[in-house]
Amino acid sequence: MAYQIHLEQFDGPLDLLLSLIEKEKMDITSISLAKVTDQYIGYLNSEEVVSLSHLSSFLSIASRLLLIKSRALLPVLEFSDEEEESMDDLEMRLKEYKKFREVAMKLNLLFGAKKMLYSRESFSGLQVVFYPPKDITAEDLHQHFSHILGEIPLLETLPEKELQTVITLEEKILELQRTLSDRVESSFSQMIREGADRTDIIVSFLAILEMVKQRFIFVKQEKFFSDIHINRLIS
């Protein structure tokens, strides 16, 4: 991989994202977000671990980042109001999260300051008096205990089909380079795997943009929404 990130375990996508931005010593803006997008997606596929139950949260942020990145790469691209909103929202959420991440460290110091205020045990020193509650039956105990059993949370297990492999931009570019070295021409529809999800489609599209920028390929589209033809530039 082109970049190396060896950061500690992250507690969620915003934690990771914020750490990446801070590592670059940047403020939270759409520019910095676009800049760290590849690193973020790389992290998901790196050897670092992301917990299963957190995976979908990481992916949802990934798709927003990809939107932001594609806006930065292609300023002419038009986005729906909803998409614009989700991009601005990410910036705002990140700023909000940052405040709490910082104050959490302050609380940690307070915990360490050893200033515990102790309270007394309730009614300590008083005589025990048998005082059964009125109208309570064995059946009440039965019902409450059964209810408690029902409330016990079981470990969340996600079904296999929800697991997704995140393809990084690099991998997609390599894949496309491989395809094009066999043939001179490919197309966007061929590039996208069968049953590809939104993230995969966006990553593929970004890979194409990146390769156009690197003058490795050129693309042609007959009309709006038609398939994109990809040709290798012979240097």
Partner: protein, 201 residues
Amino acid sequence: MPTHQSLFSVLESLLFISGESLSFVRLSKIIGHSEEEIELALNELSEKYLQDETSGLKIVLHNRQALLTTKAENMEKVEFLTKSSMQESLSKAGLEVLSIIAYRAPISKSAIEAIRGVNCNFTLRNLLLRDLIERQENPTDAREYVYSPTFRFLQSLGLENIQSLPDYAVLSVDERLKMFDESSKTVSENEERENKKEIKE
């Protein structure tokens, strides 16, 4: 109804025996003074303990309840007696969730998760077990709970109220909600004015 002097005495006795926190309402009912008088007296008592260097007691006020505790500087000796060393080391996730709850209480699980961008079932459970947070049913949505910091949380940090948290005034406000707050401010300001009036009378 007790005289002014004995009001303090009764308050001290009740808080001493209870051990747990007592609400202003409950104290008011037991003692026969108005809630406002109770609140004023508690504030005075709290100040008295603070000023008196020979006193080893302190009052923590939270959610219109009062709790009597030992002073922070005596922690070491107290722990020697109780042999209970409270080590509260928390995970990073635990600290973040706790911060969000402390500054934004009462707050629902989904609102906490929206801020952190990740689910926090087990972290919440862990904080509940450590008695650092508590949950109530959400008055506006019966399907979920809302979470608040406990007395234990304030005690662990050595704070006498929630406002003594670092940057409380700034962080307790959700900027995205500021617009809505503007419109509701008028109401609470009036309410406050009304409350002040009552105290004076």
